[in-house]
Symmetry: C2
Subunit: 144 residues, 2 copies
C-alpha cells in the first residue's frame, strides 16, 4: 500500500480550518462546488466532478481530525482513506493530509497527488482570503 | 521506503522540457535561482536554499529521463533518488516525477511532497510562459 502525504500551514485558527473540512459549505469552497450529503460520523458526503464522483463515508469527525473512507468513485480510490489532522504551534495552524491505501504507484496516483496539493493550496486561499479555487475553477495540471 | 510521486502535463515539446531539467540555466528558472555545477552524467549539481543545500549527483541524463542521487543536504534526503521521465502522447508532454527512497512518512516528507508539487507548477509556468517561480520567489506553503 502507498500513500499520498501533503501539508499546508495557515494563519487561520484551527476552528476555522475544521469548518472548511467538516461542513458541506466549507468543503464546497475549496474542493468541488458540487458537494452534498452528511458530514457527520457515519454519513456520506458526495463530491461531484464530471469524470468521477467520489462518495466518502465519514469515519471520524472530531475537533482536530476528519477521516473519510471512499465508498464509490474511481476503482483506485475504493476503500482508500483520506484524513486531515489539524493542529497549531506557536506560529501557525498545520493541516496534515494523507490519502492512504493505494494499491500501487500508477500514473493516476501521481496525478491525484499533484491535484490534492493544488486543492490544499485552494483550501489555504479560501481560509486566508475567503476565495478558494474549487472545481470547476481549479488549477489544471494537465491539458484537457 | 516511501516515495513522492507527482506529474504535470504541458504543451511544451519534450526537447524543451528536457532543457529545463538537464541544464543549469533551465533548472535555475523553476527550482532555485542558486543552481550551479555539472548536469552531465557523473557530475554534481548544487542547488542552494538558505536552510538546506542539496547536492545531486547525476546518475542518468538521456533524451527522456534525468535521475539524480542526493549526496548532500537534509539527512532525510541523503541517498534518495529524484527522477523525471518525459514523454508525449497525442495531446501533451508528460513529466512523471518521483522522489524515491525516503525512510518514512515524517512531517518533512509531507512538506517536501507539497513543495515539489509547487515547483512542478513553477516548471510548467516557466515552460509555457517563460516565467517560473524558483526560490526565492516560490509559493510558500507554510508561514515563515
Amino acid at each position: 500500500m502507498v500513500n499520498i502525504c501533503l501539508t499546508i500551514g495557515t494563519s487561520a485558527p484551527p476552528a476555522q480550518v475544521m469548518r472548511a473540512l467538516n461542513t458541506i459549505e466549507g468543503l464546497s469552497e475549496w474542493w468541488t462546488l458540487h458537494t452534498s450529503g452528511s458530514p457527520d460520523i457515519g454519513g456520506t458526503i458526495k463530491f461531484r466532478f464530471p469524470d468521477m464522483g467520489p462518495d466518502m463515508r465519514v469515519e471520524e469527525s472530531s475537533d482536530d481530525r476528519v477521516i473519510w473512507e471512499c465508498t464509490a468513485g474511481p476503482d483506485e480510490w475504493i476503500g482508500t482513506h483520506i484524513s486531515f489532522h489539524v493542529f497549531e504551534d506557536n506560529r501557525q495552524t498545520h493541516v496534515m493530509f494523507k490519502h492512504a491505501g493505494w494499491a500501487e504507484e500508477v500514473p493516476f496516483f501521481h496525478h491525484c497527488s499533484t491535484k490534492w496539493a493544488v486543492f490544499l493550496l485552494s483550501l489555504r486561499n479560501y481560509l486566508e482570503t475567503g476565495e478558494g479555487q474549487p472545481f470547476p475553477g481549479d488549477i489544471q495540471i494537465n491539458l484537457d
